[in-house]
């Protein structure tokens, strides 16, 4: 028995993965929350550290105690020291948790406090994380690994590369997402890349280039008694050289023979036994497509993105099982949760296949390269289930959103050179289809890309079928069925045959060509199944399920689809919370979603799950089968929201705010008219269809203006134009400005504060509104802003105004359900910039900080319950919550990290504190900031006005003993105002001390670079400073207000002042949930941690005085 059981010493600490970032995303909320549930089933008390407030795992009722704190050795140690958990779980929080655990071990913390790592031992983590050690261990047991050697210095690296021969693969240890890795062709290239890598990693590995080999992964589960299984294998459609996170992946493998499949399985077992893994891990192979040669690429001794995918692909709950094995349970003693009958010690058999497709958002990164490779850049993924590869692939394409209708016949610009298909971009799969259409052969494409001919021939089949459809004068049922079996959507068939989509839909319904609903059951129907994990397919005639004959209490909830910039785990939290609220009301939620990283697609959450496309066609199919009472579209973000009108037109009942009202808020013209009617100010705007019109508008309202091109068409970003030239440039970026593709231009309001109202209404009556305040002035996208709740710097009058406008909007739009309004405030006046009649990104934040579950409130309103308003006092808090963005710039080579109107952050965290500085520092530390221990700051403040504003902060820094470095302009300014500092020189200036030498973590520990103008595309010195800060890992702040708050916070708080208090210590814990009828709001916190008394902020210490609302104004 390794794990603790009941009794006093029954507490385990689980580390989460923090904010979503590229390479570490929603999958860890899924595995973490599943693990917590499993641990609790085993009677263990689970404490969780995870600053990601938008996750399900940090929702009260799951973990016994939650800490919104940085997952760093310092904070984790303090929690351990104070609360003395018996066990520590590192495998559910991605690389963040694993690295933190390793560091705690190295510092002797675990030993000092007698904390045992549960699951795979530290030794296993060490052997698998250290790439050189890893290779050596595997060689010692006769397993092939790439020829390689590790280097700690540049000369060593060069020597190894010379021995192996170029090209070589260069990788860094202790990171994931292939970060800093890549194929290096020449010595010069190696020099540059190795230097950079050494700044983030003590060692690099140079290894033989295996580009083009098949990339195969296995998910392995092993218990302490050596029962071992492989739950799933997966094959990358894109071969080695393209990161698995960047690859289209299919499960199970498609081109492996029995012998290959089981050979790799055997090797996996051998390796995993050697490392002594207990729980779950992932092993990656390279397999030569021309022979039986293989290499082991890596082992991840923890749950991973792949394991989340494998769980969804197979129906085998890897995290759940891994958690139980970590406590010492044995595999054969655990049951298959799909049927509660058969053993968990088995290898799932699939009777379908899944295709995972990555979702990129590279357009959102200015300056980023659009090529993909061995580094991960994708921000999300979708998983399509089908009974043929063609079907799954086309479903997967559509799941990506962006109006993609399938593999072929899309009307977007592919933006991938057909001549150079070997250098992939995110749209290569579409380019391949196009190349086939233009007559390229499968064999040639296979040679160029290394993609197995089998996959290409399936794409070819789709292209041919498209040609057949296009050439047919009639549409016989057989052909229609064949097309549907190959995954064609009605829209695609309509486009190919020149018919109307509705006509195709009607024709196939008449011919009874409809998809069949099938269950995922882990055993290919050999055993009956308990859960309802469903997908639809045309490769089948019979439904596995028929909705119950009894009372129809089914309600459809649409999920968020692929995570992307601007839409991620927060919407999953909303959906899962809404499903929970529905269950409390006695409804049976039916969730539709297609993102394997989510908790809403956990088939064990007590709802019926359709792992399906979020398209109207599929929604309609599901509707026909389920005949639910209605549809909830308001919780999954913009994708479901966009389906509102189609639902309305087709007569599918949308619950809550009605489609035509949603349209009144979404349609700029209608909304603007409404605002005018209500007398609510808005920034002036115009929709223009020519460059001339644009210029005329700008001249009239005055620069700067904000330009929003039609994103889908051009891929160009929203930007601010400060003058005519900038406007012309911005419009050039928009590929086309025309009547069909108008551009929206608005007056950009400078120096305005940005505020948001997250609210819930019922039949136009406001039930609750939480007003939040951005630290950054308007001009930084709300998703990238640092958000404070409750507001700390606002006039009560402003808040009152916002509440009032919000209430009027609710009434005017007849809102029932959640909504969000964005405001600008300047000189006591508020303007509305946007209103979304759905839950917003910040709902989990305001719900958890206030302790009032806004989703529960909204769901009850939408289901027609009588709900009374939230007393304003409940939102009047005596502590502060700060939400901070998480950026992934380090993974996107070349991207400019300056904040802009276009969102670029990939995730967020939020922390609580007794005052703003405490909450703020905790939050930014959680998002990767490091305290400037050495107190060396580089200042580079763009405009004169900003310099003046920052002067007091600069003085404060000096007072607190900071050494200031400055670039030319800032240096002059500081000198003029008597602030001591050292000037750093730009490369061009050819003098030392030079900037480039200084931008390393040893020399600087903070860079405040506030770019000069408004959003200018600049390959300037500023860009070089910012980019270098990112590449070399020096904390960087690029916004003036943020810099000011930071300096103020650093001046008042040290790391030790940031108290590691639990969520429960701040937010009053409510009583267990009752199903309230017509009562007030249900507190979000439902469970009092067993045995824990109620504590207030400060624990034993004093209770801080509430921060006055009317503090100094920005």
């Amino acid at each position: 028995m390794t794990g603790p059981r009941r009794g006093r010493r029954n507490r385990v600490l689980l580390l989460g993965s923090g904010a979503l970032k590229i390479g570490e995303a929603g999958e860890f909320d899924y595995s973490g929350s599943q693990a917590i549930k499993a641990l609790k089933e085993e009677g263990v008390e689970v404490w969780l550290i995870n600053p990601n407030i938008a996750t399900i795992q940090t929702s009260p009722g799951l973990a016994d105690r939650i800490f919104f704190l940085p997952v760093t050795p310092e904070f984790v140690e303090r929690v351990i020291a104070e609360h003395r958990p018996r066990g520590l779980l590192l495998s559910f929080g991605g690389q963040t948790a694993l690295n933190c655990g390793l560091e705690l071990h190295r510092r002797g913390v675990l030993k000092r406090y007698g904390v045992k790592v549960l699951g795979s031992p530290i030794s296993a983590i060490e052997m698998t994380e250290d790439r050189a050690r890893f290779a050596q261990e595997l060689r010692s047991i006769g397993i092939s690994v790439p020829r390689s050697a590790a280097a700690r210095t540049l000369p060593a690296a060069l020597k190894i590369a010379r021995r192996i021969g170029y090209p070589v693969m260069m990788r860094t240890g202790f990171t994931l997402g292939g970060r800093g890795s890549g194929i290096v062709h020449t010595e010069a290239e190696l020099r540059a890349r190795a230097n950079e890598a050494f700044t983030s990693s003590p060692q690099i590995l140079i290894e033989e280039d295996l580009t083009g080999w098949k990339e195969i992964e296995y998910e392995i589960v092993r218990d302490r008694a050596d029962n071992i299984i492989t739950v799933c294998n997966m094959e990358n459609v894109d071969p080695l050289g393209i990161h698995t996170g960047e690859s289209i992946v299919v499960a199970p493998s498609q081109t492996l023979t029995d012998r290959e499949y089981f050979l790799l399985r055997d090797l996996s077992f051998k390796a995993i036994r050697h490392f002594g893994i207990v729980g779950e891990c992932n092993i990656q192979f390279a397999l030569d497509p021309r022979s039986d040669e293989y290499r082991v690429i890596e082992v991840n001794a923890r749950l991973s993105r792949s394991s989340a995918l494998a769980s969804k692909a197979t129906g085998y709950p890897l995290a759940r099982i891994a958690a139980k094995l970590a406590l010492g349970r044995l595999l054969p003693d655990l049951k298959n949760s799909m049927n509660d009958t058969t053993t968990a010690c088995f290898e799932p058999a699939l009777d379908y296949l899944v295709v995972k497709m990555p979702k990129w958002d590279l357009e959102k990164f200015r300056g980023a390269s659009h090529f993909i490779g061995s580094e991960m850049k994708s921000v999300g993924e979708v998983m399509a289930i089908g009974r043929s590869f063609e079907e799954a692939l086309q479903k997967g394409c559509r799941m990506l959103g962006d109006n993609i209708i399938g593999l072929v016949d899309n009307d977007f610009n592919i933006r991938q050179s057909l001549a150079d298909l070997a250098t992939p971009t995110p749209r290569r799969v579409f380019a391949l289809a196009e190349a086939v259409r233009r007559g390229k052969g499968v064999a040639e494409l296979a040679r160029q890309t290394g993609i197995d001919a089998w996959f290409l021939s399936k794409m070819e089949r789709i292209v041919r079928l498209r040609a057949t459809l296009g050439g047919a004068s009639t549409l016989p049922d057989d052909l229609l069925r064949e097309a549907k079996e190959a995954g064609f959507s009605d829209a695609q068939i309509a486009r190919a045959t020149g018919r109307k989509e509705a006509a195709i839909a009607a024709a196939r319904r008449a011919a009874r060509i409809v998809p069949a609903t099938k269950q995922i059951d882990t055993l290919a129907a050999e055993w009956p199944v308990r859960t309802n994990y469903l997908y639809t397919t045309y490769q089948g005639r019979e439904d596995d399920t028929t909705p119950g004959a009894g009372e129809n209490n089914r309600v459809l909830i649409l999920g968020s689809g692929a995570y992307r910039i601007g839409s991620s785990v927060e919407f999953d939290w909303c959906c899962v919370s809404a499903a929970a609220a529905l269950r409390r009301l006695g409804y049976a939620p039916v969730v539709v979603n297609c993102n394997p990283e989510t908790v809403s697609t956990d088939y064990d959450m007590g709802h019926t799950l359709y792992f399906e496309e979020l398209t109207f066609e599929r929604l309609r199919d599901i509707w026909d089968k389920e005949r639910p009472r209605g549809i909830l579209l308001a919780f999954g973000g913009q994708i479901p929201n966009n389906l509102a009108l189609a639902c309305g037109r087709a007569g599918l009942p949308v619950l809550g705010t009605q489609p035509e009202d949603i349209d009144r808020a979404e349609d700029r013209h209608k909304f603007s008219t409404l605002l005018d009617r209500l007398g609510v100010p808005q920034p002036p705007w115009a929709e223009v269809s020519s460059r001339r019109e644009a210029a005329r508008f700008a001249a009239r309202v005055g620069y700067p203006v904000l330009v929003r091109p039609s994103y889908v068409l051009s891929g160009a970003a929203m930007r601010i134009a400060a003058d005519g030239a900038a406007l012309a440039a911005a419009l050039r970026g928009a590929a086309e400005v025309s009547r069909q593709h108008p551009v929206v231009i608005s007056k950009f309001i400078q120096g305005a504060k940005e505020l948001e109202a997250d609210a819930v209404a019922s039949q136009g009556r406001l039930l609750g509104v939480a007003v939040t305040e951005h630290v950054e002035n308007a001009g930084v996208h709300s998703g990238d802003a640092t958000v404070v709740f409750p507001p700390q710097k606002l006039y009560l009058e402003t808040v009152r105004r916002i509440r009032d406008v919000t209430a009027r909007l609710a009434r005017a739009l007849k809102i029932t359900g959640p909504f969000n309004v964005q405001y600008l405030a300047i000189d006591n006046e508020v303007m509305v910039i946007e209103c979304n009649l759905r839950a917003s990104r910040s709902f989990p934040f305001i719900s958890k900080v206030s302790g009032v579950d806004f989703i529960d409130l909204a769901t009850r309103a939408m289901m027609g319950e009588t709900v009374s308003p939230v007393p304003a006092s409940l939102l009047d808090l005596d502590y502060v919550g700060v939400k901070a963005p998480q950026f992934s710039f380090s993974r996107i080579k070349g991207a400019d990290p300056a904040l802009r109107v276009e969102m670029a952050s990939t995730g967020e965290v939020a922390c609580l504190g007794n005052d703003l500085p405490e909450a703020f520092l905790k939050a930014i530390l959680s998002a990767g900031f490091r305290m400037p221990e050495k107190k060396r700051v580089l200042l580079s403040i763009g405009s004169e006005a900003d310099k003046v504003r920052f002067l007091p902060s600069a003085r404060l820094l000096r007072e607190r003993g900071y050494t200031i470095y400055a670039t030319r302009g800032t240096s002059k300014f500081l000198a003029a105002h008597g602030v001591a500092h050292t000037r750093l020189y730009k490369i061009r200036e050819r003098r030392s001390p030079s900037l480039l030498d200084y931008i390393t973590p040893d020399r600087l520990d903070l860079i405040l670079n506030v770019p000069l103008g408004l959003d200018r595309k600049e390959l300037t010195d500023g860009y070089i400073i910012r980019r270098r800060a990112i590449d070399y890992g020096v904390p960087l702040i690029t916004n003036l207000q943020l810099a000011e708050l930071l300096v103020k916070s650093l001046a008042t708080k040290s790391l030790q002042d940031l108290r590691p208090l639990s969520y429960e210590a701040y937010v009053p814990v409510g009583e267990p949930a009752r199903v309230p009828e017509g009562t007030g709001p249900v507190p979000v916190a439902r469970l009092r941690p067993p045995g824990a008394g109620r504590s207030r902020p400060g624990g034993r210490g004093r209770v801080a005085a509430p921060v006055p609302l009317q503090a100094d104004r920005a």
């Binding site: 008694a225 029995d258 058969t342 043929s388 021939s457 099938k518 089948g540 005639r541 019979e542």
Partner: protein, 383 residues
């Protein structure tokens, strides 16, 4: 890398066909194999890889096999084996036959028909030479794609195994036949004795055995004499150190001659290892009972627990009959049990070197992990 496409593309007017079950259920599909009607017992396997191995496994004799994994044919079929596993190297007593390489588990397709959801006419693998469809055509075996194999599986699961036939438009409709009434073992067993490998002398009583049993024993330093199922093994003095009772098709009770032989082996305590049907033969010889299962086990993921250690192994299986573990006579103990349905998966004698397993330690297709059973057996044979 080899990639290709079979001679008949599915697009070019595939023949329509259907599976008709004895209970009247009809499953529509398209022909991708030989345009011949077929009849037999309809069974399903949940293994996701290994169709060449499965198709050449003699245990499927008389059956129509449905693959629950939908996409079949992906990696094609390699060069056909030389028809002569007979071409001996050396002469006389010293002659050694040559086994065809993997994936050939015998030299031809034994089952009566193949069903799948999404046959892949395109294939790709460096060893591939033919499409699955072409191979079926060459061997005169029917195949249907487009079948709702999941619906079929569920039907078999709830009703028990069913007889069925494949009808192909424009071709005569066959009658239903129950293969389990025939002595299928006699149909598939070798007619002549063959020797393989050098080393510890073993006899493999061929009831329809898979080549990989021989391969693995030869690899472990054994000389394997493969003899017909009804061979009496009467050589005196005994010139073999142990006997393997191979897998094979059908009802074990119909292989009466083999049961006779095994009874003698038991009496003489000859080191014996039964596999699959061989397990059932050993059980019958010992006096236990066998029975027909509702629909059998055909899978690569049957979890079997070693009752001595509690360890659970993933096993490859293909059987429709089973040993009633309750009826084992004194001295014989259940060895493995199925972790899912509790059926008997192996037996061993308390004192004598007699043992058998219901699953396939030789895998092919399916997972390795229980080869140690062969090692243990060999160690005892050598003792």
């Amino acid at each position: 890398m080899r990639a290709g496409r079979g001679t008949g593309t599915v697009r070019a007017e595939p023949l329509k066909g259907r599976l008709v079950l004895e209970d009247g259920a009809v499953f529509e599909g398209r022909s991708f194999g030989a345009a011949v009607p077929a009849a037999g017992e309809v069974v399903f396997t949940t293994g996701m890889v290994g169709y060449p191995e499965a198709l050449t496994d003699p245990s499927y004799r008389g059956q129509i096999l449905s693959f629950t994994y939908p996409s079949i044919g992906n990696y094609g079929v390699p060069e056909y084996p030389q028809p002569a596993a007979d071409s001996p190297e050396g002469d006389g007593d010293d002659a050694r036959a040559i086994l065809p390489p993997r994936p050939w588990e015998s030299d031809r397709i034994h089952l009566s028909g193949v069903l799948c959801a999404s046959y892949s006419e395109n294939f790709s693998h460096h060893a591939a030479r033919h499409s699955l469809g072409d191979w079926l055509k060459d061997q005169g075996i029917a195949g249907l794609t487009g079948i709702d194999t999941r619906a079929l599986t569920k039907r078999i699961r709830t009703r028990g195994s069913l007889l069925g036939r494949i009808e192909i438009d424009g071709h005569p409709v066959p009658g239903l036949t129950d293969p389990n009434k025939r002595n299928l073992v006699a149909e598939v067993s070798t007619r002549r004795v063959r020797r393989y490998g050098r080393g510890t002398p073993l006899v493999l009583l061929d009831c329809g055995g898979k080549n990989n049993q021989v391969r693995m024993l030869v690899d472990r330093g054994a000389e394997v004499r493969v003899v017909p199922w009804d061979h009496a093994l009467l050589t005196r003095p005994r010139d073999y150190a142990g006997v393997i009772l191979s897998n094979g098709p059908g009802d074990p009770r119909l292989a009466a001659a083999a049961v006779q032989t095994v009874r003698r082996l038991v009496r003489q305590r000859v080191p014996t290892l039964g596999i699959c049907l061989g397990h059932q033969l050993l059980a019958l010889a010992a006096g236990a009972k066998t029975y027909k299962m509702k629909f059998g086990h055909r899978a690569h993921n049957q979890p079997c627990i070693d009752l001595r250690t509690g360890r659970c192994y993933q096993t490859s299986q293909n059987h429709g009959f089973a040993v009633d573990g309750e009826t084992l006579p004194g001295g014989f103990k259940p060895w493995f049990v199925n972790a899912n349905d509790g059926t008997n998966e192996g037996l061993r004698h308390e004192r004598y070197p007699l043992r058998s397993v219901q699953f396939h330690p030789e895998a092919a297709p399916g997972p390795a992990g229980t080869e140690w059973i062969l090692d243990e057996f060999l160690a005892e044979a050598r003792r």
